[in-house]
Every structure is written in structure tokens, then in C-alpha cells.
């Protein structure tokens, strides 16, 4: 038995199975995961590792375990999306910890959440003075959301009655030297227009451009491969091996 070859084949099976299943489970930022989502991820990963290296047993039972956990996770996600009642039961809901500047000790006691935890999380949100806090909400994923008192919130152009230009999402027109025709069509332009715009920036060919985006303001952002920066700043502060 060629164990190396068997591990290789099983690893390929586990890799693509995991890729497909996690794609089905959808996107959630790591910061949005609840404790259960996190444990689900670890368990699924552990089962994929077993499929790869546990030659003492067949891959099939581990794969069935993997798909069962993924299906159950998917079902829970679906149910909690469809039903607010189940969502509250399974995932919990946000709990107010500080309201109008006052700490709600009863809520904290129910969550087994103490003042040390509160202060730690406030400091991670750059709040070192508790009197600055208007509201603080403990989210189901354990994050603390903080609303400072109105007089301490950052100033905005609206507060100063300063008119601002229109903003929006930039659309990529060139990525890694390749023109994205689909996006050109989206902004109702063509290659001739793009070439004329690039000429104005001293670019002869799209292949010279690393990234070009069409901003909401109507301007073009272009970054060429050749940046003419002779010596980039070295931010390292220690003479290492390289």
C-alpha cells in the first residue's frame, strides 16, 4: 500500500469537499461568527483532516460526518433566517449593557458578564473613560457595540454644513494588466475611450497598468506596474536575516 499516494488522494477529496461545502455555508466575517459558528468551523476542519490522514479507517464515514455537520449548520442558518423566534432561541439576541450612560447590572449578571470584561471590551474600542458611553450593546457573537454620547461623536461635514462631492463604489476597469470589458460596458464606455483616458496618464497599453478604477466622481484612478519609486521606504526596524 502506497500510503503517501493514498493520503494525497484523500487530501484532494477532503480539500474540494471542504471548499464546496464552505462555499455553500456562505460568507460571514470571522468577527461576525458566534461561538457555535466558530466551533462548527473547527469541527468541520478536524473531520476534513481525519479524511486526509486517518488511514486506519475509511474516508467514507468521516465524509458522512463532515456533510452531516455542514448540512446541520446550513439548516440552522436557514431556519434562523426564516424564523425570528428560532433565531432568538438558537443564536440569542443583542443585550444592552449600558443604557443612557448607566450600567445594567441585571443584564450583565444574566450573561455572566462582569465589569472587567466590560472595561476590557470598551478599551478595545478606544474608550478609556466610561462617562463617554451613551449605549453599549453586547452582540450574540460576543462583540461589544459602543455608541458614544452625541457631544463626543466625531464631527461630520453635515454638522458643519459643508457640501461634499458624490461618492460611490469604484469600478475596476483594468486588473493586473487585463481589461475588464464587462465593467467597461457597465459604465457605457468602450476600449477606444479607455485608451484615450490612459494616454492622458502617459500609458501606451493597458498591460502597463496594475489597477485602474472608475470612481463615482467620474475620475479615473490608475496605478502602473512601474511606479518610478527607486527605493521604497523600509519600515523594518531590525536587521534580520534578509
Amino acid at each position: 500500500m502506497n500510503e503517501g499516494l493514498v493520503v494525497f488522494v484523500r487530501a484532494i477529496i477532503a480539500f474540494f469537499s471542504l471548499l464546496i461545502f464552505t462555499r455553500l455555508l456562505g460568507k460571514k466575517q470571522v468577527s461576525q461568527l458566534t461561538l457555535f459558528d466558530y466551533i462548527l468551523g473547527i469541527t468541520i476542519g478536524s473531520m476534513a483532516a481525519s479524511i486526509t490522514t486517518d488511514l486506519a479507517s475509511r474516508a467514507w464515514p468521516h465524509w458522512i460526518g463532515l456533510i452531516t455537520w455542514v448540512a446541520a449548520g446550513f439548516a440552522v442558518d436557514l431556519l434562523t433566517t426564516k424564523s425570528r423566534y428560532l433565531s432568538k432561541y438558537i443564536e440569542g439576541e443583542p443585550v444592552i449593557i449600558i443604557m443612557n450612560g448607566k450600567i445594567l447590572e441585571g443584564n450583565m449578571r444574566k450573561l455572566r458578564y462582569n465589569a472587567t470584561n466590560l472595561q476590557q471590551q470598551l478599551r478595545s474600542k478606544d474608550v478609556f473613560d466610561m462617562s463617554e458611553v451613551h449605549f453599549a450593546v453586547l452582540e450574540p457573537n460576543g462583540e461589544l457595540s459602543v455608541l458614544k454620547k452625541p457631544e463626543l461623536q466625531p464631527l461630520t461635514p453635515k454638522d458643519m454644513n459643508i457640501p461634499v462631492s458624490n461618492t460611490g463604489i469604484g469600478i475596476e476597469l483594468i486588473y493586473d494588466g487585463i481589461v475588464i470589458d464587462m465593467n467597461l460596458k457597465q459604465i457605457k464606455q468602450d476600449r477606444k475611450w479607455l485608451d484615450s483616458q490612459l494616454k492622458a496618464y502617459g500609458v501606451k497599453d493597458p498591460s502597463e497598468v496594475f489597477l485602474a478604477t472608475f470612481e463615482a466622481s467620474g475620475s479615473l484612478y490608475i496605478d502602473k506596474f512601474k511606479d518610478k519609486i527607486q527605493r521604497p521606504i523600509d519600515i523594518g526596524d531590525f536587521k534580520g536575516p534578509y
Partner: protein, 129 residues
């Protein structure tokens, strides 16, 4: 219409590709019983075990030896097919049984040979279960 067809084709491949990958993975994982089946006479393990059993019972040691070498080469061929889907422990156990059977036949030890043959058959039947 051309763009509509391209979109449909793309949608088809988006779904078709992962389904095919999963289907191939499932086939590989469950293929032990399928690949165990003999393709010819040479890799027919149960048949070789049966012939050796009869040879040992009737004290026909030359026939037993001859079929033992055929059993060994047949098993080497089968291992290459079933190694991806069968348990390593069962494969190793059958290897050990065949090794012990070889010694028993060389020593013309009928009792030991029959024990090993029975154990080898059991390991063969357990493969893929």
C-alpha cells in the same frame, strides 16, 4: 440570445462542476467493494484461498505453494486498486495472514495453514465493510 445562452451555459457549469467533483469523490470513497471484484483469474483472491484450502486439506503441498504465489501476486494487483477506499488495517492484516500462511505451507503445518486461510478469508470479506 447569444448572451442568454452563454449565461445559461455558465450557470450550468457553476452547478455541474461541484456536483461532478463530489460524485467522483463519493465513487472513490465507496469503490472498495467494486474494485475488489476480480477482473480475471489472476486477481481472484477468494478463488485462490479456496484452492489452497482444498490443497492443504488433501495434503497437496505443491499445489498449495503454486496457488500461494498466485495469491500473492493477485493480492499485490488488488491492493493498488482498493488502497484508496479500504481500511489500511484490514489490508495490513491480510498481508500478515498471507505471510504467516507462506510459513505454514513451507513447514507443511496443516492446522496453522488452515487457521491462516480462514483468517485471510475473514479479512478479505471485511475489506470495504
Amino acid at each position: 440570445m447569444h448572451e442568454g445562452m452563454n449565461l445559461n451555459m455558465r450557470k450550468f457549469f457553476v452547478i455541474f462542476t461541484p456536483v461532478v467533483i463530489l460524485a467522483i469523490s463519493i465513487f472513490i470513497m465507496l469503490s472498495c467493494s467494486f474494485f475488489k471484484k476480480p477482473k480475471g483469474d489472476l486477481d481472484n483472491i477468494p478463488k485462490h484461498i479456496d484452492i489452497i484450502t482444498k490443497a492443504v486439506t488433501s495434503d497437496n503441498w505443491p499445489l498449495a505453494e503454486q496457488n500461494l504465489s498466485q495469491l500473492e501476486s493477485g493480492w499485490k494487483t488488488v491492493i493498488k486498486r482498493v488502497q484508496f477506499s479500504c481500511e489500511r488495517d484490514e489490508i495490513n492484516a491480510l498481508n500478515v495472514s498471507i505471510a504467516r500462511l507462506k510459513a505454514s505451507i513451507a513447514a507443511k503445518d496443516k492446522t496453522s495453514a488452515l487457521i491462516e486461510l480462514s483468517e485471510a478469508m475473514q479479512h478479505w470479506n471485511s475489506l470495504g465493510k
